[in-house]
């Protein structure tokens, strides 16, 4: 059995299911907005066993699941807390929140062990951790600094353009039915204060094009795109990029594959830049990266490829 954690109306999951049906692979789609995380049971007898009861009373027994597939962000955040007499509410809230997070993070991590796409757990895959591994693999990183003062920036920037972006993985936050995006931005050093909130800065690389690589089952599937205007965040001029299939050099491919392994992921989407001197620079890995658009512009139908992977996994485990 393959378990697909997804959400209502997600067509990427639909596309995969078409192929699962075609290859006669047993699966179950679970739209997490329908379910409650309180229905998790973990038993410790001789072995550990995790069970998840669905709202329709069906029970998913993890020992029977051959592989998972994860789309979306998971359960909604816990936001209702009980009251206990004589204990201040902030204490209860903090206690329950940590209890819940500990449980849910373990639940997610057990899924991520054998999953295409993964749930986000704390800062497991933060840029800072990624950069450390990337350095050790010998991939180029744009010169970067995290600091809170102008003095350090001044000795860092070498009169080159600087960009700033978030340290965290989160790219968007919803509030009052509006989505607020965290963007990559250029800025003027003259306009910033002497001291500020610790922030991430990077020397801007003049690029030939950007590359997105989806890594899955030890293979890289890449596309490149150029910016029509001098855009900095790929979401600028989103509609003006022209995409094309791209082949990365073998040594870069190998490094990216080992990066995904070192991040303990089964798949991921990696952003790279190729500069004017044909050097490749690593930007970041998105553990839950989109692959549909990579599939659209490369020669491989990734939905089918993933279904075949599941088919082989099931065979292997029999």
């Amino acid at each position: 059995m393959i378990i697909l954690f997804s959400f209502h109306g997600d067509r990427i999951t639909n596309k995969l299911i078409d192929w699962l049906l075609y290859y006669n692979i047993q699966f179950k789609r679970i739209n997490l907005e329908d379910e409650t995380p309180f229905n998790i049971t973990i038993e410790y007898n001789n072995d550990m066993n995790i069970k998840f009861k669905l709202i329709n009373s069906e029970i998913i027994n993890f020992s029977e699941v051959k592989y998972f597939y994860v789309r979306g962000v998971g359960f909604k955040e816990l936001n209702c807390f009980t009251k206990i007499p004589n204990i201040p509410q902030p204490i209860i809230n903090k206690y329950l929140k940590l209890e819940w997070e500990t449980l849910i993070n373990f639940f997610y991590s057990e899924i991520n062990k054998k999953s295409i796409g993964s749930f986000k757990i704390g800062d497991n895959h933060s840029k800072l951790k990624q950069y450390k591994i990337v350095k050790s693999l010998g991939l180029n990183l744009p010169k970067s600094i995290i600091c809170n003062n102008l003095e350090e920036i001044n000795s860092f920037h070498e009169n080159k353009n600087l960009i700033t972006k978030a340290i965290q993985d989160n790219i968007a936050t919803e509030y009052n039915r509006k989505v607020y995006l965290q963007r990559v931005q250029r800025f003027n050093i003259k306009e910033i204060d002497k001291e500020f909130f610790p922030s991430f800065f990077q020397i801007e690389i003049e690029k030939q094009y950007e590359i997105r690589t989806f890594i899955f089952d030890q293979k890289c599937y890449s596309i490149k795109f150029t910016f029509k205007e001098k855009g900095i965040d790929m979401r600028d001029y989103y509609n003006q990029h022209e995409y094309a299939s791209y082949q990365l050099p073998k040594n870069i491919q190998n490094k990216l594959i080992s990066l995904i392994e070192k991040l303990e992921l089964k798949s991921g989407s990696i952003d790279l830049i190729k500069d004017m001197n044909n050097n490749y620079y690593y930007l970041e890995t998105n553990p839950n990266g989109q692959y549909d658009w990579v599939s659209t512009f490369t020669e491989t139908n990734l939905h089918q490829t993933i279904a075949i992977f599941f088919k082989n996994e099931i065979k292997k485990l029999k």
């Binding site: 109306g9 067509r11 078409d18 509609n239 995409y243 659209t296 491989t300 139908n301």
Partner: protein, 315 residues
């Protein structure tokens, strides 16, 4: 990607959602690099990618939609001749969800007050995979791009509209080899009759008699059912000269003249030889431009067209 028509050329950027640009052929420099080779990965496992199902809801036996899963149908349009209740609509949507239908469009031809209630709208909206279009409503309104109320009748038409062309790569690649309307389409009529499309004449049995996947697959796999599937625009008179040919979903039935020549009995309301739409100043019919397309042959009077274009466009 470049689509060259008789008079004009369309440039489609290789992105998933975008506008295209139109050029006069004379103004556009063609170079080899403008041509995009076909990326041959738009393969689906589906036997049928889209269905149109008409339901008469007076007939309260809910139609069993299991067959959608058998053929891995992705998109469906369900048209109710009457006014179905919320229970009926929900039942249909749930069946579609179980069958892994990617997108549902529900057309309702008669408005009842129930449709304009929070309960109705919210209980349907939460599935996030359908559009509901309600005709003959007392008002016009668009709710979250999912509910559309129109205060007029639904009309079936063979006409094309300037605004309907959408440069979707999947569609463009499909159109290279297939008829974008008839290919992998299945129509089930109000009494269960199975056809390729509502416009088709031939009936291939009744869905009520179909008991297992193989029965249906057998019908759909026959060359008769798939008669129009491979009739792509490049082998159709007039269409093959049109710059919109790879993004046009045309529901006119093509008629065969020779093995690789097809024609239409109804003329399109866009004339690609002079780049004019019916109703626009200077529009002329094909016959008036010296373009002849019928069962006996296809011919273009190039001199006459050049003359007309000179008057219309000054070149």
């Amino acid at each position: 990607m470049i689509i060259k028509g008789f008079r004009r050329t369309i440039k489609v950027p290789l992105i998933q959602k975008s506008d295209y640009q139109i050029f006069n052929n004379n103004d556009y420099k063609f170079s080899q690099s403008n041509y995009q080779k076909k990326i041959n990965q738009f393969s689906y496992p589906s036997l049928i990618t889209n269905s149109i199902i008409e339901i008469n809801s007076n007939n309260i036996n809910f139609r069993n939609l299991n067959f959608l899963k058998w053929v891995l149908c992705k998109n469906i349009v369900i048209e109710f001749i009457n006014s179905p209740s919320l229970v009926i609509i929900q039942n249909i949507i749930n069946q579609c969800i179980v069958s892994n239908v990617h997108q549902i469009t529900i057309i309702i031809n008669h408005f009842i007050d129930e449709y304009y209630s929070d309960n109705f709208i919210e209980s349907i909206l939460c599935n996030r995979l359908q559009k509901i279009i309600i005709f003959n409503s007392p008002f016009i309104q668009n709710i979250e791009n999912s509910f559309f109320f129109y205060n007029f009748n639904r009309k079936r038409t063979l006409k094309k509209y300037k605004t309907e062309f959408y440069p979707d790569l999947t569609l463009i690649y499909e159109s290279y080899d297939f008829h974008t309307y008839f290919n992998q389409k299945l129509y089930i009529g109000p009494s269960g009759e199975i056809k390729n499309a509502p416009e088709s004449d031939e009936i291939f049995g009744n869905i009520k008699d179909i008991e297992n996947p193989e029965d249906l697959k057998q019908i759909i796999s026959t060359p008769e059912f798939q008669k129009y599937w491979s009739v792509h625009k490049d082998i159709q008179d007039v269409c093959k000269d049109c710059e919109f040919r790879y993004m046009c979903v045309d529901n006119k039935i093509p008629y065969q003249r020779t093995e690789n020549e097809w024609y239409h009995k109804t003329e399109c309301n866009y004339n690609p030889y002079i780049a004019k739409w019916e109703g626009e100043d200077g529009y002329k019919t094909l016959a008036e431009c010296g373009v002849i397309s019928h069962e006996n042959g296809f011919s273009i009077d190039h001199d006459k067209i050049a003359e007309i274009n000179k008057v219309l466009w000054g070149e």
